[in-house]
Structure formats: structure tokens, C-alpha cells
């Protein structure tokens, strides 16, 4: 199904929704949604907007920089937004500053149909409702692998071997790419690889960093071997750049977000030859480990603390309408929905395979964000060959400790 078809159908569904269920049974109130911007979230926000009318207003601000706004916007009293879409990483500062409210009462009243695995509970209280899953996984070009006589790789060692074989066969100069842009993206690649090696980021129960160890060094060396198979510009590659390279047929192996699957498998921006031989498979394991070197993510929504109870209730009902079975059916291919009525599509095969391999979720820890920032900033020197892996990891720990002291996590 092409993008146009999906949007026509969803637009039709929304129009019907508006006429049939104006107000969604909400007594009244103002709903404003802050969220990330991609196809699935747009569908959810449009579904919530179908509740507008009869004294209910629904507005949304969908923006890929939503994380920069969220703390300030929800700290204000009354909060600038009553509902927010979030993930297992983005929710942490909201939890730490008490900016989102427990949803148990609202679920008892309106959300009995939600399945238990959609409820994000912290210390027994439901703080968010998840609606979709995401993970980075492997994209492979079957035709290229066939030319060098290799099967789809299951471990990173096989990925590296396949990349070298493709390079030596003269098929591509830089067969591999991943989101390795300095900063958040590069930090995320290390997090994936380190978890695949079985690493621990912190001493349990404390904020003390523990990344400078054998697992960290091994993770860095694997990353370096991969970047040697990447275009020399790899430190500027984000998801958009990798997707563009893939659609241009410049790469044969990519570790990329599952949410990009729809865009890569549609008939736009690429050739039939590339699309038909693209396979979405599980994230590889690494270093003899038994879980894929990736992290699982959920996207969900939460309701602001600093908003009136009436607006909170209206927001909750509107968001439930946004993640209803009808919205999911109309936008089936846009995401890996955690909602009843979802039919797994080819674009979601990679995320399912990765989750089936018992990949761990991204840690929902208050100081993980500081660690992630330190990783993203300090690993570049090693990848460029300016310093040793041990030195890079020591720099990560030192940089993290300085930040954690300032934020009050360490003394």
C-alpha cells in the first residue's frame, strides 16, 4: 500500500470519526498534545483530534525536537500541553521531575480494554500507556549477499565478514552504514553494542559508571570494524542519511530503526530492484552473546501533572481514541502497534525478530541520559584513531561523572 493510499484511508477514517463520535463522550475540556513527529504519531494525534467538538478542543504540536521542549513545557503550571507522547528514554526526566501523573484512576474509568503489556508501571503506578514498539535492526540486500555467496548474517562477526567480501568483490566501496552521527546517534550505537556484549552501565543501585571494562573495549572494537566498512563521512550519518544511502543503492547492510522500514519498502525514492531484494531481519548478536546487540523501545503517551483533572481526563480519552483499533487498522503499516487489531506487516518483520531474540529494553534510568550524552561526545576520538579504546572509555566515565555531580546524582 502506498503512502497516498494510507493517508486517504486514514483521512476518511478521521472524517467518519468526526461525524460519528464528536466529543468521544468527553464532558468538555482542552486537549493539547506534544509529541515526536513520524507517521505513526501523526496517526495517533489525528485520531485524538477526531474527538474535537461539543466543547472539546484538541490541538497538537508534533515536532522531532519535542524532547527539548517537554520539561520546560510541562513544568509550567498550568502545563503548556496536557498530553505528551514519550518513550522509555524520554519519559525519564518527566518522571524525575514529577511532571506526569499516575493514570490508575483514569484507566479504571476509561481504559479497561487496554492490555496489561501496554501499561508502563513505575513502582506499581501506571505512568504511561505504550502503543508501539521500535528497535534498531539489520536491513540487508539479498541480491548483493547472493553475489558473494553468503547467507543473511546473524552475528556482527558475519556482518563484518560479509561487508569485507562485498568490498573485495568490488561490488561496493562502503557496504555498511548505521546511524553513527556524533552525539545521540553514536551513543545509541554503543549502547546497543555494549548491551549485546552483556555490559552493565552502572554499579547496581548507584549512579557510578562501569563502562570502562572488557565488554566496553570489545563493543568499541566492533564499532570500529564496522565504521571501517562505512563511508568516511559516517560521523555525520543520522537516520535520514542512512535511509537515503539505502534507497540510492549505495549500501548493502544497515543497522537502522524499524520505524524506517515503511519508508524503505515503499515505492518512492528507490528502484524496484533495491526494494524487492531488501530484507528486514533481526539485529545480530555479537561476541558470542545470545541476545541481539540492540535495544527495544516503546512509544506511548503520558498525561501532565500540572493540568486540571477535567483536562487530564479529556486528554486521556482523546489519546485512547488516537490509539483505537480503528486508527491502528487504518495505519497498520506505519508501526509495530502494541494494540489489538494489528496485523504484522513486512516492514515490521525486523522489529519482531529482534524482540523475539529477547533483546533488552533501553534502560529507564534517571542518569542514563547523561551517560548517553557522554558516550556520544567522547567516542569519536577512538573511532578516528586518535586514542585507545580504554582512553575513550575513561574519558566517557570522567565526562559522565562531571555531569552527574553537577546534576546531583553523584557526590
Amino acid at each position: 500500500m502506498s503512502i497516498q493510499n494510507v493517508s486517504v484511508i486514514s483521512a476518511a477514517a478521521i472524517l467518519m470519526g468526526t461525524s460519528a463520535f464528536a466529543g468521544c463522550g468527553i464532558a468538555g475540556g482542552n486537549v493539547s498534545i506534544l509529541g515526536n513527529e513520524f507517521a505513526a504519531i501523526q496517526a495517533v494525534a489525528d485520531g485524538a483530534k477526531a474527538c474535537a467538538g461539543d466543547g472539546v478542543t484538541v490541538e497538537s504540536n508534533l515536532n522531532k525536537d519535542y524532547r527539548e521542549l517537554q520539561v520546560a513545557a510541562l513544568t509550567a503550571n498550568p502545563a503548556q500541553y496536557s498530553a505528551i507522547t514519550t518513550t522509555n528514554a524520554a519519559i525519564v526526566p518527566l518522571l524525575s521531575d514529577n511532571l506526569i501523573r499516575p493514570l490508575d484512576d483514569l484507566i479504571a474509568k476509561h481504559g479497561q480494554h487496554l492490555s496489561k503489556n501496554q501499561l508502563i508501571t513505575v513502582d506499581g503506578k501506571v505512568m504511561a500507556v505504550a502503543f508501539m514498539a521500535n528497535a534498531q535492526h539489520l536491513f540487508v540486500r539479498d541480491d548483493i549477499l547472493e553475489k558473494v555467496g553468503l547467507d543473511a548474517p546473524e552475528t556482527y562477526e558475519e556482518v563484518i565478514a560479509a561487508g569485507q567480501a562485498i568490498k573485495e568483490a568490488g561490488l561496493m566501496d562502503h557496504p555498511f552504514a548505521t546511524t553513527s552521527k556524533t552525539g545521540w546517534n553514536l551513543g545509541e550505537e554503543f549502547v546497543n553494542m555494549y548491551m549485546g556484549h552483556g555490559g552493565q552501565f552502572f554499579k547496581p543501585g548507584t549512579a557510578e559508571p562501569t563502562v570502562n571494562n572488557d565488554a566496553g573495549v570489545a563493543a568499541l572494537n566492533t564499532l570500529k570494524a564496522l565504521t571501517e566498512l562505512s563511508n568516511p563521512d559516517y560521523l555525520t550519518f543520522d537516520s535520514n542519511a542512512v535511509q537515503a544511502s539505502w534507497e540510492a543503492g549505495e549500501i548493502a547492510l544497515a543497522h537502522l530503526w524499524g520505524s524506517r522500514g515503511t519508508g524503505i519498502l515503499d515505492n518512492e525514492g528507490s528502484s524496484e530492484e533495491i526494494v524487492s531484494s531488501t530484507s528486514l531481519i533481526a539485529s545480530p548478536t555479537v561476541g558470542g552473546g545470545d541476545i541481539p546487540a540492540s535495544t527495544l523501545w516503546w512509544d506511548g503517551f503520558a498525561i501532565a501533572s500540572n493540568t486540571s483533572d477535567a483536562n487530564a481526563e479529556a486528554s486521556f480519552v482523546a489519546m485512547l481514541n488516537g490509539i483505537s483499533t480503528e486508527v491502528v487498522k487504518a495505519n497498520n503499516d506505519a508501526a509495530v502497534w502494541l494494540i489489538e487489531g494489528y496485523e504484522p506487516a513486512p516492514a515490521s518483520a525486523g522489529v519482531f525478530a529482534t524482540a523475539a531474540g529477547k533483546t533488552k529494553p533501553y534502560p529507564m534510568i534517571p542518569f542514563m541520559g547523561l551517560m548517553h550524552t557522554a558516550l556520544g561526545d567522547e567516542l569519536t576520538d577512538f573511532l578516528q584513531g586518535n586514542e585507545s579504546a580504554e582512553q575513550a572509555l575513561a574519558d566517557v566515565e570522567a565526562s559522565y561523572i562531571a555531569a552527574a555531580k553537577e546534576k546531583g546524582f553523584l557526590n
Binding site: S96, N231, P232, M364, P366, G369, G408
Partner: protein
């Protein structure tokens, strides 16, 4: 003017300066001397679509109480200034103690984020500023000699780099220097090196950023010099010509001395502008190879775990840096001023 009249005369601007310059500075200094409260960490069981795990979380009630007691956070004195993210005094003395030659010490120094940023910031400032002045002067002299029919269009075209928003200008160039872009591919072809990438190596990234800096700032110097050229005394120029001065000699001994005050002016503005170089780093995604003091502040503020105190300390250090940079130029202006007054 009587004192009372003078006071009422400057009161509005004085009030504006206190409100918009002095108070923010006081606030930044105050924030840089504090760090956040201790966060009370508890271990909770968190569940989601992928199962349950025991993880650390912040005890929000206990932390909120600490925050209510001391809204500014904990007083930390100058400790933020001396930590690893800023002046890193402990790391430097350690590096000096265990150094293995001066080069090794320098590379250890370069490994610290503040000094890495300072190295690029200073190199950028001291290379781009003189180049902008020289290039601006050359363009101004060239345009000044054009027949008047061509002057208008040439001036317009020369000003284009200044009209384009810096971020947009750098993004356009970023895609042009991409390995697949028109400039990137041409360079690969010229140097016969398919691996050549302006974005990959630190040295080439620095050069790219500086070329961009000169490109975007030269029009400013050009406009100022061009205006100055219109005021050159034609009598002196004719006198020089009659004495048999070549064109170069006329420029060297008549035009340049006349433009000297403008050179000081442009240096002042450019030193300040270049010291806070920022947009090209974002536009060129160059943070892997080049960061500046302004970029460090931006990175601290641009996440949901904002580090206000660290950003404040870097800001104060930047203000001190600008003050040091401008001192020689300001001293010179002051001396000229005194000389004229006597």
C-alpha cells in the same frame, strides 16, 4: 550639560542596560556558582511491554522537598569552573605530572572538551579575522574601480553571502561538499582520490569551516571599506599621482592609512563575532572534529537533562575570553582618543 539634565537624559538607556545586560550577567554568574540538589535515588520495579526490571529512579517527593528548601541548588563555589568539562585544573596537573614530552601533554590537553573547543575557537578567530579584512579590502578596491554601470549589480552579488542566514548558508554548502555533492565530487576528481571527504578529517573540516567563515563575513568588511573609500581625499590621491606614485603606493600610503580606523572597527566586531562561532558547526555537522565555546553551551542546554550550571560557567568563561581578546584593540582606541583630546 548639568548633572541633573544628563542623568535624566541617559536614564532610559541606563535602565535598559541594567535590565538587559547587567541583570542577566549577575544571574549567569550566580547560576555558575551553584550545582543541582542531591537527587534521592530509590530502586523501583518498572514494568512495560518488554517485561519487568528493577531499576533506579528518583524519589520525586524527597527531591522536591530539597528543591523547595533551596531553590537555587547547592552552593558549589568555583568547583564547576575547575571540573573536567571546563578548566579541568586537576586533569591538567595530572597530565603535566605524567607527561611524556610536551607533545604528549598537548594531546592530553586537547582531549579535554574545553581546551579542544578553545583550540578551534582561537584558531578560527585569528585566521578568519585577518583574512576577512584583507579580502574585504580587496573586493572594495576592485568594486571601486568598476564603471558605475556595473557597480550596483556587483555590490548586490558581493553582499549575497551576508544576506543568507548563516545556518542556511552552511547547510547548503554542507550538501555541496558531501562526497556525492557538486564540490565534493569535483575535489575527488581534481585530486584523483575517491576516498577524499571534507567531512571526515579534522584538518579538512577546520579548513572548510574557516573558508565558510571568510565567505560569510567578507561582505561585511567589504561594505564598510567601500563606504570608507568614498571619503578618501581625492586631492591627496592626485598629489600622490603627480609625485609618480604607482597604484600600489597610492593604496599603501594614502588609502590604507585613511581606512585604519575602519580596520580597528572591523577587527573589533569580527573578533567578537568569530570568538562565538557557532552556526557553521551545527550546519556542517562538524561537532566530531570541531567544537567551539558557544557549541559547548548549546550542547549543555539542548537536551531534556539541561545542565544550566555548566552552561552558565562556560558562558562566564566566554565573556572573560572576549574581554581578554578585545583589550588590546580597546587600549589602542583609548590611547588614540586621549591623544586627540590633548
Amino acid at each position: 550639560m548639568r548633572h541633573k539634565t544628563f542623568f535624566w537624559f541617559i536614564l532610559p538607556s541606563l535602565a535598559a542596560m541594567i535590565l538587559f545586560i547587567a541583570l542577566p550577567l549577575v544571574s549567569v554568574v550566580l547560576q555558575s556558582l551553584h550545582i543541582e540538589h542531591e537527587q534521592v535515588i530509590v530502586v523501583t520495579e518498572n514494568c512495560g511491554p518488554f517485561g519487568c526490571t528493577k531499576e533506579s529512579s528518583v524519589d520525586t517527593e524527597a527531591t522536591a522537598q530539597l528543591r523547595a528548601e533551596q531553590p537555587l541548588g547547592r552552593f558549589a563555589g568555583l568547583s564547576t569552573y575547575f571540573d573536567r568539562g571546563h578548566l579541568a585544573t586537576a586533569e591538567i596537573s595530572e597530565a603535566w605530572r605524567t607527561r611524556d614530552g610536551f607533545g604528549d601533554f598537548l594531546s592530553e590537553l586537547y582531549n579535554l572538551p574545553f581546551y579542544k573547543a578553545l583550540a578551534f575557537t582561537l584558531t578560527y578567530t585569528f585566521l578568519v579575522t585577518p583574512l576577512v579584512i584583507v579580502l574585504g579590502l580587496l573586493i572594495a578596491l576592485g568594486v571601486n574601480r568598476l564603471p558605475s554601470l556595473l557597480k550596483g549589480p556587483t555590490i548586490f552579488v558581493s553582499l549575497l553571502p551576508m544576506i543568507i542566514t548563516p545556518l542556511i548558508g552552511s547547510l547548503i554548502l554542507f550538501w555541496m561538499i558531501d562526497a556525492q555533492g557538486v564540490i565534493g565530487k569535483t575535489l575527488q576528481w581534481m585530486f584523483d582520490d575517491p576516498e577524499l571527504s571534507l567531512k571526515a578529517s579534522p584538518a579538512l573540516t577546520w579548513i572548510t569551516l574557516m573558508v565558510y567563515g571568510v565567505w560569510s563575513s567578507a561582505p561585511f568588511a567589504f561594505v564598510v571599506f567601500y563606504a570608507g573609500l568614498q571619503t578618501v581625499n581625492t586631492d591627496s590621491l592626485e598629489a600622490a599621482m603627480i609625485d609618480g606614485a604607482t597604484r600600489w603606493q597610492q593604496i599603501r600610503y594614502v588609502v590604507i592609512p585613511h581606512l585604519m580606523p575602519l580596520v580597528v572597527f572591523i577587527s573589533l566586531i569580527q573578533l567578537m563575532d568569530n570568538f562565538r562561532v557557532f552556526e557553521p558547526i551545527v550546519g556542517f555537522s562538524a561537532q566530531a572534529n570541531a567544537t567551539s565555546l558557544s557549541y559547548i553551551i548549546y550542547a549543555d542546554m539542548r537536551s531534556d537533562l539541561t545542565r544550566f550550571n555548566s552552561a552558565a560557567a562556560t558562558s562566564v568563561l566566554t565573556v572573560i575570553g572576549v574581554a581578554i581578546l578585545l583589550t588590546p584593540v580597546l587600549l589602542r582606541t583609548w590611547r588614540d582618543f586621549k591623544g586627540k583630546a590633548v
